[in-house]
Amino acid sequence: MRTPIAYFLLLSAILFALGSASVLLRRNALRIFMGVELQLNAVNLTLVAFSRMHLELDGQILAFFSMVVAAAEVVVGLAIIVAVFRRTGTADVDRADVLRG
């Protein structure tokens, strides 16, 4: 008997919760970003699991697009973190409290 699909979905839910807890608990912008990456991966796992369950490839395509967008998001996000770090000298998100560049 194969592993039930629900186990993959549960694993994905746990990973998503750990990612969001990481976002909520951490104050360093890089650590928050890692939490966001974990959340994205958890959602991708859900998409692939549902793709397997429904015997359709659309879920895998969606996960693929999500990876592309995540790569673009990481590039821009890290550039913003570097820019903020240059301006304020810290990666603490509580210190970056002005929108002025």
């Binding site: 194969r2 592993t3 039930p4 699909i5 629900a6 186990y7 549960l10 694993l11 839910a13 746990i14 990973l15 998503f16 919760a17 750990l18 807890a21 990481s22 909520l24 608990l25 951490r26 104050r27 360093n28 890089l30 650590r31 970003f33 890692m34 990456e37 991966n41 991708n44 796992l45 692939v48 699991a49 793709s51 397997r52 369950m53 015997l55 359709e56 490839l57 659309d58 895998q60 395509i61 996960a63 693929f64 697009f65 990876m67 995540a70 790569a71 673009a72 998001e73 990481v74 590039v75 821009v76 890290l78 550039a79 973190i81 570097v82 820019a83 240059r86 301006r87 990666a91 509580d94």
Partner: protein
Amino acid sequence: MPLDNVVFWVFAPLSIATAIGMMVVRNAVHAALFLVVNFFTIAVMYLLLDAPFLFAVQIVVYAGAIMVLFLFVIMLLGVDRGDPLGERLFGQRTTAVILAVAIVAEVATAIRAGVGFATTAPEGFEAANPGGNPSALADVLFRDYFFPFEVTSILLIVAAVAAMVLALRRSRSVTQREIEEHEGDDLEAYAMAPPGAPESMRGGTR
């Protein structure tokens, strides 16, 4: 016990353990390394779900490119001093843990109602993958999802340009008159200071 059950029960706890490690460890480099292992375990899950193409993409894109970028920025910023501890908001930590547990409970209830814990994946995925998974994916991607695919190419270009614009250190051009005015100053410190920095940072001794 069939092989993919064994693989699942080895890698699923490893995945959760590395995610917890990523969350609690203080050093940012250690957290990034935990995250790499976590990405590998998720890649193994893709393999169990008959998605070998995404398995490869996950390792190349996430464990390769994205994590290298993360580690590069961590080294660049030098934030291996660790995260400042202590709560800014009262009860932030407790609330975060409660919310995380609530998400898991909620999704578990939804899974139980919608999918059922005993439902296994139906057979016949090979029939949905004529010519192998990458070939079948390419078929769907370049036929049904061709327009989104082209849009992502624009997205990637915009992201690359945006990253360059954001990370570029703006250097302003200096006129001959300014050089004469500032003769004898510490010009190196002046040039290295960010624009709009206070005069003290620029080593201004006029």
